[in-house]
């Protein structure tokens, strides 16, 4: 195991940021920590990177205790914090050189490892980091986090605020790093990125909802799911939520995903919606994705309380 987390709890005053969290990450795994803002992702990552101490529970990183053995552990972690955390007034090359040096290495020594990523921003190496585009900044940050050849790479929301093309490129880079045997833990609020991970942990309000492969999570979804479109989406949700057979209804882009609580007879739902005066109705059965599963698990958790 590269990372073992058992019963970790952490509070900020009265707010419980993490409540009895446990899961493992295997060596060489690309593991996703997926949940909305405020779910506790950053807190958990900071505990793993030795920056915070949990109130209860314990973590093991590379068989080291992040609380007691943080000095031994720190050189082996590659960490990319949530915000762009490089020196904006230094150039690309100066940033990379600085981080290489403080980790006791040089760019040349590990050039092979970062070549894939760094070569894309190398043409701009004399440009100040603050003047890079969002995607390029992420590449530089990843290069800086990788330059000392860490055994574990921990990335906190690396793709937040980055355009779609750069996001895709970024995940391809992660996949290639994984092939080199580096364990990667990445957090993201984007549910669609879950399918790019080997396994994911769905986290919400400091609780782990489920830990599994994306495919198993989707497969475990056992409700009938419909994608519904109408002219007035807002009113559509209200009406669907008032419908007796509805288990849950959530907006999803332009359409509404309706999970059903029971079996539906043909034509029953269109009739109901027509009665409510909805126009341009489109109803079709759809396959669930991770977000549907997340919503389902979230609803279940809330009704359990």
């Amino acid at each position: 195991m590269s990372i073992t987390i058992s019963h970790i709890t952490k509070s900020y005053g009265a707010v419980k940021a993490l409540d009895d969290i446990s899961f493992d990450v295997s060596k060489g795994e690309l593991f996703g920590l997926i949940g909305p803002d405020g779910a506790g992702k950053t807190t958990l990552i900071r505990i793993l990177t030795t920056l915070l101490v949990p109130d209860a529970g314990e973590a093991r990183m590379l068989d080291l205790d992040p609380v007691k053995e943080f000095r031994k552990l720190r050189p082996h972690i590659g960490y990319m914090p949530g915000r762009f955390s490089l020196y904006q007034d230094l150039t690309v090359l100066e940033n990379l050189n600085f981080f290489a040096t403080i980790f006791g290495t040089t760019i040349e020594e590990n050039y092979d490892l970062i070549k894939d990523i760094y070569s894309q921003i190398e043409p701009f190496k004399h440009r100040k980091a603050g003047q890079l585009s969002g995607g390029m900044k992420q590449k530089l940050a990843l290069s800086c986090a990788m330059v000392h050849e860490p055994d574990v790479l921990i990335l906190d929301e690396p793709t937040t605020g980055v355009d779609a093309v750069s996001r895709k490129e970024f995940w391809e880079m992660l996949a290639r790093l994984k092939e080199r045997g580096i364990t990667i833990l990445v957090s993201t609020p984007y549910m669609d990125e879950a399918s790019l991970c080997d396994r994911v942990a769905l986290i919400q309000d400091g609780h782990i909802l489920q830990v599994d492969t994306p495919a198993s999570i989707v497969a475990s979804y056992n409700r009938q799911l419909l994608g519904i479109k109408a002219r007035n989406t807002l009113r559509l949700i209200e009406d669907l939520r008032a419908y007796p057979l509805t288990h849950s209804a959530f907006p999803f882009g332009e359409s509404v995903h309706l999970a059903l609580a029971g079996d539906l007879t043909d034509g029953e739902l269109p009739e109901y919606l027509h009665q409510k005066g909805h126009e341009e109705l489109e109803i079709e059965p759809i396959a669930p994705n991770i977000e549907d599963c997340f919503m389902e698990l979230m609803t279940k958790k809330q009704s359990d309380k």
Partner: protein, 368 residues
């Protein structure tokens, strides 16, 4: 060691890449010395006075001439009636009025002790006191010249010499103060801001996760500011000696060594502030309130400590600037060696050791 220099280099680049701040930091000592040296001065020249001379005889005329030719006073208005005094103060903005009674000359030679009334505008008490003192001295001197000391059977004469600053130049007073303020500003305030910036930008997270030892982070961070502080010191000393002809009577080496000590004290204060705040703005506010104000007000730079109420006097003991100013004045003006300022130096050394110890302890190895 290599990582340490990489850190120093990085920090130096931060300073150089921000030319605006650099210009302010290097320009400030120049501005302050010039300002204090030329503009803000305690010396009085050409103060406007009014004279009401009810006698108009040769003696009052001579005394008036003495006053106006002294260089301290300038005759703004000659009054014909005593009730014009109020108007002279209000309208002609005179600072001092001299009133001679009638028949001054006769009474003067009759040993009748005629009185001259000096009326000062005391809205600024310091100026008023000084003007009265100057005018009294001039009148007394005239009296002695006229009558000779023999005329007064018992008299004590005072002979005054202003040692270490014969010409009473106020720039001699201000330069040690400006050195103190600038060193405190550059060392404490800039360090606290620079360290807090790492926190605010999130780079501190990476630095903490790196194998860097805290002492490397802190020392690497402050070295460029020590250099900046010494550069400021050089600028001030060059200005003071070249432009204002201020002497450095003691050892220059001792002066620099003592300054380095004070820089260390300030740096430790800056590090302590930065470990307790999260944003640059708060660091700036606290530096100004907690460090700059006592340095300016309680160090004896502007207000004499002896005149303060005892609680403020007590507080002034823990203001490092108080001791440093004594040292700088001693070395620069009195030519004092370590044998003279050893007590102040020892106090500063102890303060610095305590502060450095506390600031190293206060440096957090984690985020909370």
């Amino acid at each position: 060691m290599k990582t340490f220099w990489a850190f120093v280099k990085k920090e130096t680049l931060h300073i150089l890449r921000d030319p605006r701040t650099l210009v302010i930091l290097l320009g400030m000592p120049i501005a302050q010395v010039v300002l204090f040296g030329f503009a803000i001065t305690n010396e009085l020249n050409d103060a406007r006075i009014a004279i009401f001379d009810a006698s108009g005889d040769p003696v009052t005329q001579e005394i008036s001439d003495r006053l106006t030719s002294s260089g301290f006073f300038q005759l703004a208005i000659k009054l014909d009636q005593e009730d014009q005094l109020e108007r002279a103060f209000q309208h002609d903005r005179v600072k001092l009025a001299v009133v001679f009674p009638p028949e001054f000359q006769e009474r003067f030679f009759r040993e009748d002790r005629p009185q001259i009334q000096l009326i000062a505008d005391a809205t600024d008490p310091n100026t008023a006191t000084t003007l009265i003192a100057y005018a009294s001295a001039i009148i007394r001197q005239y009296e002695q010249e006229k009558k000779g000391s023999a005329a007064l059977p018992y008299s004590i004469q005072t002979e005054v010499r202003m040692r270490y600053n014969e010409e009473l130049k106020s720039v001699y007073l201000f330069v040690p103060g400006v050195i103190t303020i600038i060193l405190m500003l550059v060392s404490a305030m800039m360090t606290s801001i620079a360290l807090t910036r790492e926190k605010e930008l999130g780079t501190m997270e990476i630095l903490l996760v790196s194998p860097l030892k805290p002492v490397v982070i802190v020392v690497g961070k402050v070295i460029p500011y020590i250099a900046l502080g010494l550069a400021n010191m050089a600028i001030i000393l060059i200005l003071a000696t070249m432009v204002f002809h201020m002497p450095i009577r003691g050892s220059l080496f001792l002066l620099i060594a003592e300054s380095l000590l004070f820089i260390m004290t300030s740096l430790a204060l800056g590090i302590m502030i930065s470990s307790r705040v999260q944003t640059q703005q708060v660091a700036l506010m606290i530096s100004l309130m907690v460090l700059m104000l006592p340095t300016i007000l309680l160090s004896g730079f502007i207000f004499p400590i002896e005149n303060m109420p005892w609680p403020l006097q007590a507080i002034s003991h823990i203001v490092p600037a108080r001791w440093f100013i004594v040292i700088v004045k001693g070395v620069m003006l009195k030519g004092a060696g370590l044998a003279v300022v050893w007590k102040e130096t020892l106090i500063l050394i102890v303060m610095t050791l305590v502060l450095i110890g506390a600031s190293v302890r206060s440096f957090k190895l984690r985020l909370e």
